[in-house]
């Protein structure tokens, strides 16, 4: 059963009183719980948050399933989200995503690679069209101005970095 860490619990409690209503704390609490649950949200996470926040599980689930940044299934250590909308689509984002995915050893979008390192998603406009193609790793600041060579090197660098831990 999922349980927030002591720090996580403290964070959620403070978020509950941060806004005008406690419901507004759901998104940040879900981010925290997702981080502590290895990058995804499942029913255990939702029931635990429901208990801690005293908000019906259905309402937390409604939020968790509506927004794309809450993952409904496990993801690799590096969740690579490649923008493929309009400008990024024109500038090679889709081809880049496919090639990086292959280099990382993922069979399909959304799969976790055998080494547990990678998951790839094609995502909608990330608001950085002047640096296309570009991507976001987990919830980090953006990785921009890519090309095929840089993208493939990024996969190799991340794999080396991931194994170092």
């Amino acid at each position: 059963m999922f349980k927030l860490s002591e720090e996580g619990l403290k964070y959620v409690k403070s978020e509950l009183t941060r806004y005008e209503t406690k419901q507004s704390a759901i998104i940040r609490s879900l981010y925290r719980a997702q981080d502590e649950n290895g990058g995804w949200v499942n029913h255990d996470v939702i029931s635990h948050l429901s208990e801690v926040m005293e908000i019906p599980a259905a309402q937390i689930e409604e939020v968790a399933t509506f927004y794309t940044m809450f993952n409904q299934k496990p993801v690799g250590k590096y969740h690579i989200q490649v923008c493929c909308t309009l400008t990024c689509g024109m500038m090679g984002g889709r081809e880049l995503c496919d090639a990086m995915m292959k280099e990382a050893g993922c069979k399909e979008m959304g799969d976790v690679s055998a080494d547990g390192m990678f998951t790839f998603s094609k995502v909608e406009c990330l608001g950085s069209c002047d640096t296309a193609p570009m991507l976001q790793i987990n919830r980090d600041p953006y990785t921009e101005n890519l090309n095929m060579e840089k993208g493939l090197q990024l996969v190799r660098d991340l794999r080396a970095r991931g194994k170092g831990h």
Binding site: Q23, I27, T68, M90, G127, C129, D130
Partner: protein, 431 residues
């Protein structure tokens, strides 16, 4: 008149991001000035400036502020920083380069509309700018610029940052309010408009990042002074996000009324050698596409683009050269709207899906000649029939792409391949 640095005067200075650096360049002096003015006088100046919402709708900001009822209820000011319209990235640049400019604009706006609680709603993916804003808010709080009795004026205002989690629809103001309230970001029926019944059913003003930042300049130069740039109906400057097939994509501030083709050829360094302009999406993906010939004639103001059947929108200009297949470009747009439809209204939920399916069948070689008219019919049926404007936003690119570049769609259906790049486009090569 070419590129100007009116809102973006100090954006190239890294120190401008910090409170000390911002103050060095006159930061928060306009807040001090505004706090000595009558709130109604500020609204009058904003009305006189002609400032129109920079998020996309282009509605008069001063008029919006004037819609708040005087019923003694608490009021909220929300900054829409859910910048998600494909092609748009100027708010991100503003928040990264000048977080205090936004905060100062918001505090002035809050004072003018008598709000004591303001939120910046920022999209969840913008973790970089969110961190910069959180730091700036903390600095401003510590300096007594946010909170009780701001600068000794007796005016109290709290300001906080709210993080979204990935949903285009939260950029629609009532969707944003639903999300801020802790629910799915589904839009609500208007009326009642947010100014009457918004966040927590209280009177609420929702303004875009760039709109609120411009308020600082209006206080400095006065409503009439702000009009030194722009045209009669499109006053002031605007930050344009330019991307696609130009040599120097980026964010450029130009006076409204500037020639689109000059922005492309002068500021953005034109197209790659040997390439020809094919089309321009002038105001974010929802804005009907312009042909090269229309783009040559277009000026960057609300009236000109509306007159061409398109819109200035968020000021996101996507430049498309002759190496692109318009069927392929439209396919990423139709996929986007299908993915982002919130699912409340049937014409949008079903229509975006059908459109994506038809475009998919064209690209994969099993469409019939009548499918082009079917696309037009579906898109037409999606307009003006839903709670919010997403359905229209999804229909407009389809109608304009198919009407203006019909030969490419017809060729694709007949030959089962694209008319450009020797038929080699992504969707065919990779699936």
């Amino acid at each position: 008149m070419a590129e100007v640095k009116y809102l973006s005067e100090h954006y190239s200075k890294p120190e401008y991001r910090s409170l000390d650096g911002y103050k060095k360049h006159g930061g928060y002096e306009m807040l001090a000035k505004a706090l000595k003015m009558e709130p109604q006088k500020i609204i009058d100046e904003v009305k006189a400036s002609g400032l129109r919402g920079r998020g996309g709708a282009g509605f008069s900001t001063g008029m919006k502020w004037g819609f708040l009822p005087n019923n003694g209820e608490p009021r909220y000011l929300l900054c829409n920083a859910d910048e998600s319209e494909p092609g748009t990235f100027k708010d991100r640049v503003m928040m990264e380069k000048a977080p205090h400019q936004l905060i100062e604009g918001m505090l002035i706006a809050a004072f003018a509309v008598k709000s004591h609680k303001a939120y910046i709603y920022i999209r969840g993916e913008y973790m970089g700018p969110a961190a910069i804003l959180e730091k700036a808010i903390a600095e401003a709080k510590a300096a007594g610029l946010i909170g009780k009795n701001i600068l000794g004026s007796g005016f109290d205002c709290d300001l906080d940052l709210y993080l979204g989690a990935g949903a285009y629809i939260c950029g629609e103001e009532t969707g944003l309010i639903s999300s801020l309230e802790g629910y799915k970001g589904q839009p609500k029926l208007k009326p009642p408009f947010p100014a009457v019944q918004g966040y927590l059913k209280k009177p609420t003003i929702v303004n875009n990042v760039e709109t609120l930042a411009a308020v600082v300049n209006i206080i400095r130069d006065g409503g009439q002074g702000y009009r030194k740039y722009g045209t009669e109906k499109s006053a002031g400057t605007k930050l344009f996000s330019i991307s696609g097939n130009v040599n120097k994509p980026g964010t450029y501030e130009v006076p409204l009324g500037y020639k689109m083709i000059d922005l492309i050829n002068i500021e953005c360094g034109g197209l790659k050698p040997g390439r020809k302009l094919k089309a321009v999406v002038p105001g974010g993906s929802s804005a009907p596409v312009l042909t090269a010939e229309e783009a040559e004639r277009a000026t960057l103001d609300y009236e000109c683009l509306a007159g061409m059947g398109s819109m200035l929108g968020s000021g996101a200009i996507i430049v498309i050269d002759d190496s692109n297949c318009m069927v392929d470009v439209l396919s990423t747009i139709t996929h986007f709207y299908h993915h982002e439809s919130c699912g409340q209204c049937t014409p949008c939920r079903e229509g975006t899906g059908w459109i994506e399916k038809i475009i998919h069948s064209i690209i994969h070689g099993h469409a019939k000649p009548g499918d082009i008219d079917m696309l037009l019919k579906i898109a037409d049926n999606m307009k003006g029939r839903t709670i919010c404007a997403l359905s229209d936003a999804a229909a407009l690119p389809v109608l304009s792409f198919v009407t203006k570049f019909r030969d490419e769609f017809e060729y694709f259906i007949k030959e089962k391949k694209s008319k450009v790049r020797g038929g080699q486009i992504y969707a065919q090569l990779h699936h």
